[in-house]
């Protein structure tokens, strides 16, 4: 299973070599990225069935657990590593854009830069998903952030620079907070390896210091996961960045940050207060995001706000204690993983005011029909997958039988009603019989094909609900099995009983 490390190493290596390759052959440089991502995706997929029986740990450099760089792969981690790899491949930046204004020289340079960034994104994203200690997580997270800056600013418009700056400021603060949290953890436990932390947590981190560390890390890593008080970059960035970048950030990268918080909750932080904080911030995210989306006047902002709302639902799901919470968050996250990129791709040619979309269904009937399907799934109309995901969130919320959780369930349901309203206002505008003044642009074939592919995935899921539910159940059970995690990563320290 050492091969899994290639999922991280190969894209990173190719990214750095890309300009060298380019000077030798532009053709090779053009295809190196996609080919490498295909190969890494194949590696990941081939490892998938093995991880069903036993999760794997890889020690980079051959050092044992506390010293070496630990990669830990169970099906949950691999799922998200695959998501970012395949996501970067499907949403290869720069495709499907209008390049009429671009200078040809700029064009080839831009393509090279975008390809490197996409590869870096895939590599660091996989690394983030597979990392087994906090230090690596922090490093990969920072790398990922830097890559995102590059991608967001890639359009080169003043709006995108302003948005990047805003994102930069918030991310910087977030990184500082996360680092402070990590320092607190290290101070208390003396290690950053998650397996060791999992052993030590009940003893050393189950106190107010541990809680403070959790809150700091939650807010720090929450920046990318669009957590409520640190998500003010979201609308601006998604409105100005290219749709493919927005799709990657909203669809995939946000889930990686979520994955980290999920891991921390499972392995390290077991305070009930931690769950309450998640619940409250999640509820605030849902309420603020969906309400703001209700008045959004252009499609990208609308999708951005609705994505904040969806991430809020995931945080609410995470706040459910035990297996059910992980399962619910996983279901909502995977649903969103398919849905949001597809919507952003459709929005590529539907930018500008929503009113201007009147009659756009005539120019792109397939796109409009797909948008209806996605909207229906997003608000949770049975039998589409969104409904079952919503069910998995609300059922345990109500089963907990506590006022705050009841309130969260109410908020999730009310948000869906609001969502139905604003999404179907867009749908009816698309099908309006009186066309808008400006002619509509048809979707680029590659955008539409990708969006349809993702949408088809949602429809296929309807027919495989039972096996999917079983698989998710298994992944959640595997992820919440702390003792397996400890034994897989650090069998030695367990036997000897000493930790440092």
């Amino acid at each position: 299973m050492k091969l899994l490390a290639l999922m991280v190493a190969l894209p990173l290596l190719t990214a750095f070599l890309l300009s060298v390759i380019n000077s030798i052959s532009t053709f090779a440089a053009r295809w190196a990225g996609p080919v490498v991502l295909l190969v890494t995706a194949a590696i990941g997929l081939s490892a998938w069935p093995h991880l069903g029986d036993t999760p794997q740990a890889v020690q980079w450099g051959g050092f044992q657990a506390p010293l070496g760089i630990t990669l830990y792969a169970d099906q949950l981690a691999l799922l998200f590593a695959l998501a970012i790899t395949i996501g970067a491949l499907l949403l290869w930046p720069g495709r499907g854009e209008d390049r009429t204004e671009e200078h040809p020289d700029d064009h080839s340079r831009n393509r090279l830069r975008r390809a490197s960034l996409a590869l870096l994104l895939a590599g660091t994203g996989s690394g983030l998903a597979l990392s087994g200690d906090l230090f690596n997580i922090y490093v990969f997270y920072e790398l990922l952030t830097v890559v995102s800056y590059g991608l967001i600013a890639g359009r080169g418009t003043s709006g995108s620079f302003a948005a990047t700056l805003r994102y930069l400021v918030i991310s910087g603060f977030g990184a500082a907070l996360a680092l402070a949290g990590i320092a607190l953890v290290y101070q208390a436990a003396g290690t950053l390896n998650l397996a060791q932390l999992a052993q030590l947590a009940p003893e050393r981190l189950n106190n107010s210091q541990g809680f403070a560390a959790f809150v700091l890390m939650l807010i720090g890593f929450g920046v990318k996961a669009e957590l409520f008080p640190v998500n003010f970059w979201v609308p601006e960035v998604y409105a100005t960045a290219s749709s493919r970048v927005s799709a990657l950030l909203a669809g995939v990268v946000s889930k990686l940050a979520l994955l980290i918080i999920m891991r921390l909750l499972i392995l390290v932080f077991h305070q009930p207060e931690a769950l309450t904080v998640l619940l409250v911030l999640g509820v605030l995210g849902v309420a603020s995001g969906e309400l703001a989306a209700w008045r959004a006047r252009d499609v990208n902002r609308l999708l951005a706000f609705s994505s904040i709302g969806q991430l809020g639902v995931m945080f609410i799901a995470l706040s459910i204690p035990g297996n059910a919470g992980v399962l619910a968050a996983l279901a909502v996250a995977v649903h969103h993983l398919f849905l949001k990129p597809s919507m952003f791709l459709l929005a590529e040619r539907w930018g500008g005011s929503i009113k201007g979309l009147a009659g756009a269904a005539k120019t792109s009937p397939l796109g409009a029909a797909l948008f209806v399907l996605l909207a229906l799934s997003l608000i949770g109309v049975p039998p589409l997958p969104g409904f079952w995901a919503k069910l998995l969130v609300i059922m345990p919320l109500l089963a907990l039988d506590q006022p705050l959780y009841y309130f969260a369930a109410f908020i999730v349901l009310a948000a869906a009603a609001l969502e139905a309203n604003y999404l179907f206002r867009v749908v009816l505008t698309l099908y309006d019989k009186a066309p808008a003044a400006t002619p509509h642009k048809a979707h680029a074939t590659v955008d539409l094909a990708t969006a349809v592919f993702l949408g088809a995935g949602l429809v296929a899921a309807v027919f495989m609900l039972a096996p999917l539910a079983e698989r998710f159940d298994f992944i959640a059970a595997q992820a919440t099995d702390v003792s397996t995690y400890i034994q897989t990563v650090a069998p030695l320290s367990l036997e000897s009983g000493s930790v440092q």
Partner: protein
């Protein structure tokens, strides 16, 4: 493969066929034949309607979340399915001839229309077949979105009304989802039987929450107060036969679900034990009063309409009140009356909409101030409307009389004179407004531009005539329908009404419509005899008339249509300050304000400031 599988399969095939051939010549007829086939298959299950068969299962099941989802038909489903397929059949028939050609030629997609109609029928059958709470919700959502589709077909204004509908409907669906997941959380099952058995364990507060959630969820579809605003406009703007279909059965699905959950699972007796705090009412009284006000207020709103379709659609809202009232009263008379009213109302409401659409087809308008005197030009449509309004007003010899009488009787037997008074006030408004309807369209003087109008084509007249015959025959022999309602009463655990072909039997005086109608007809017969034997009569031209002491010639036409019942409207006008519209606008602007605030938050809030706050918060936690 069971009969139910077969029924659902044919309904699904109808949907596909409608989409494929709906635009072709004769496509509509093919679809209509498929509805007839659905009806035939339904009749194979007619044992359900006569209590000789308890339940028909579907062999399709589905395992998810440790639950086995099942679909099945019982007497209640069968009764509703009969009305659904009937309404689909007649609406499709009506749309298949000239109406469809005109619709297609004016730019509408006839295939989409037939598809939407077939999808409505199919989704309703799926809902009616639901065997547990989860399948109930799935069917419920399918029905909601299918209705949305057919309402939005017309485009333009209809989009706005359809949007309003789906906003209400989806919010209601979320209330419903919350309710049934709460049941699952508390009782651990979606299965009807299991839930029914463990409902007594529920605490009063939980039960109250459930009653509120379910009443809101189902009430939106039924358009009971205060959720009634969406319905009339949305139905009125639906393309002609679609409006007839929706008017006949669509919002009845809310009543079906209400019966399944609140009557069958929770039970009316349990509702009667739920005290409303600080009042002398209980939950059942509350529902009964909501029903009565749903009868009164929309009926008087109907009275003020100038558009024939809106007038009818508002009556649709009002009549729901009678059905709900009868079912909430829950004695043998009331539930029989409420259930029977569903069937009766569907027959004449579909027919009335068809008559109005036929008039629109010929004259191009449904504006009550631009019509008049069409009796001489469209006599068959006139007869259809006459039969229909007699039914709607609840007068003998039509079927509406029987069901309304049963509901009234149930209120008196139940000892609720105030509810009875409310119901009668509603009927009073109905009689006034249906008179306005027929007078403004068919009576009085013909307008110049309508001099050349002909009767509607046979494809439109024939469904109306058949429905008129149904209204008359089931008015003459109400026992035909009471057989089915008795089977339903038995299935949902209500006391069963003792009945015979002509009506019902009771210690306090029975009802025999065969006698009543025969005497009525005999009276008419005698009148006719007198007329025929009474010697010469002079035929007067339609325009040979006078008003206010002036003779009116053909040049100065006089048709009193505007500002009907000014005295009454002056009297009740003060009560209509559109308070519900105000409520809705208030809600929307609250959301709007909150939304603006949130956008402001995301646009302006200084990120570093917030982060600082977060840091201080986190650190203070450490220190304190």
């Amino acid at each position: 493969m069971t009969v139910l599988d077969f029924l659902l399969l044919i309904a699904a095939i109808t949907v596909g066929v409608a989409l494929l051939v709906g635009n072709r010549a004769g496509g509509g007829w093919l679809v209509t034949i498929l509805y007839a086939l659905q009806g035939t298959v339904l009749l194979l299950m007619s044992g359900l309607g006569y209590s000789t068969l308890a339940v028909v299962h579907s062999s399709v099941t589905f395992d998810i979340l440790n639950q086995t989802l099942v679909w099945r038909f019982d007497a209640l489903s069968w009764f509703f399915a009969l009305i659904t397929i009937g309404a689909g059949l007649f609406s499709s028939w009506f749309a298949s001839g000239e109406w469809g050609e005109r619709y297609r030629d004016s730019g509408g997609s006839l295939a989409l229309f037939h598809f939407a109609l077939a999808l409505n029928v199919f989704s309703m059958l799926v809902l009616l077949a639901s065997g547990d709470l989860l399948t109930l919700f799935i069917g419920w959502e399918l029905v909601s979105w299918a209705s949305f589709l057919i309402m939005a077909l017309a485009g333009g204004k209809a989009f706005g009304y359809a949007m309003r509908y789906i906003s209400y409907a989806f919010a209601g669906a979320m209330a419903l989802l919350g309710g049934l997941l709460l049941i699952y959380a508390q009782l651990g099952s979606f299965d009807y039987l299991a839930v029914k058995e463990s409902v007594p364990q529920l605490q009063t507060s939980t039960l109250w929450l459930l009653v509120v959630l379910f009443t809101a969820g189902f009430g939106v579809k039924m358009a009971i107060l205060p959720f009634h605003l969406w319905q009339a406009k949305a139905y009125a703007e639906t393309p002609g036969p679609g409006a007839a279909f929706l008017g006949a059965i669509s919002s009845r699905m809310g009543l079906f679900a209400f019966i399944v959950v609140l009557v069958q699972l929770i039970g009316i007796s349990r509702l009667a034990g739920l005290e409303v705090p600080f009042t002398f009412l209980d939950a059942r009284d509350l529902l009964a009063w909501i029903a009565v006000f749903t009868t009164i207020i929309p009926t008087y709103i109907a009275l003020r309409q100038h558009d024939a379709r809106r007038l009818l659609a508002w009556h649709g809202v009002g009549q729901t009140g009678y059905m709900l009232l009868g079912i909430v009263i829950a004695n043998d008379l009331g539930s029989a009356g409420g259930l029977m009213h569903i069937f009766n109302y569907a027959t004449y409401q579909a027919m009335l909409f068809m008559a109005v659409v036929a008039v629109m087809h010929r004259t191009g308008t449904s504006d009550l101030n631009k019509l008049g005197g069409l009796f001489t030009r469209m006599p068959l449509s006139y007869i259809a409307m006459l039969v229909g309004i007699i039914g709607l007003a609840g007068l003998p010899p039509m079927n509406g009389f029987v069901s309304k009488l049963l509901v009234y009787r149930s209120l008196i037997v139940d000892g609720s004179p105030l509810l009875f008074l409310g119901a009668v006030i509603g009927t009073f408004g109905t009689i006034l407004s249906v008179y306005k309807l027929i007078h403004n369209i068919f009576l009085g003087q013909l307008r110049v531009e309508h001099a050349a109008v002909r009767e509607a084509p046979l494809s439109m007249v024939l469904p109306m005539m058949i429905l008129a015959a149904v209204v008359f025959v089931t008015g003459y022999f109400p026992g035909l329908v009471l057989d089915w309602t008795s089977a339903v009463q038995r299935a949902i655990g209500m006391p069963v009404l003792a009945h015979h072909l002509g009506g019902m039997m009771s210690d306090q005086g029975g009802l025999d419509m065969i006698w009543i109608n025969s005497i009525l007809l005999a009276g008419f017969g005698i009148g006719t005899l007198v007329f025929l034997l009474g010697g010469r009569s002079r035929r007067v031209h339609q325009l040979d008339n006078y008003a206010g002491g002036h003779f009116l010639t053909a040049e100065t036409r006089y048709h009193y249509s505007d500002n009907f019942y000014p005295g009454l409207m002056h009297l009740v006008g003060g009560w209509y300050r559109s308070s519900f519209e105000w409520l809705e606008r208030g809600f929307v602007s609250t959301v709007d304000t909150l939304s603006t605030a949130m956008q402001g938050l995301y646009r302006n809030a200084h990120p570093s400031y917030l982060l600082l706050a977060a840091v201080v918060f986190a650190l203070s936690w450490v220190i304190v």
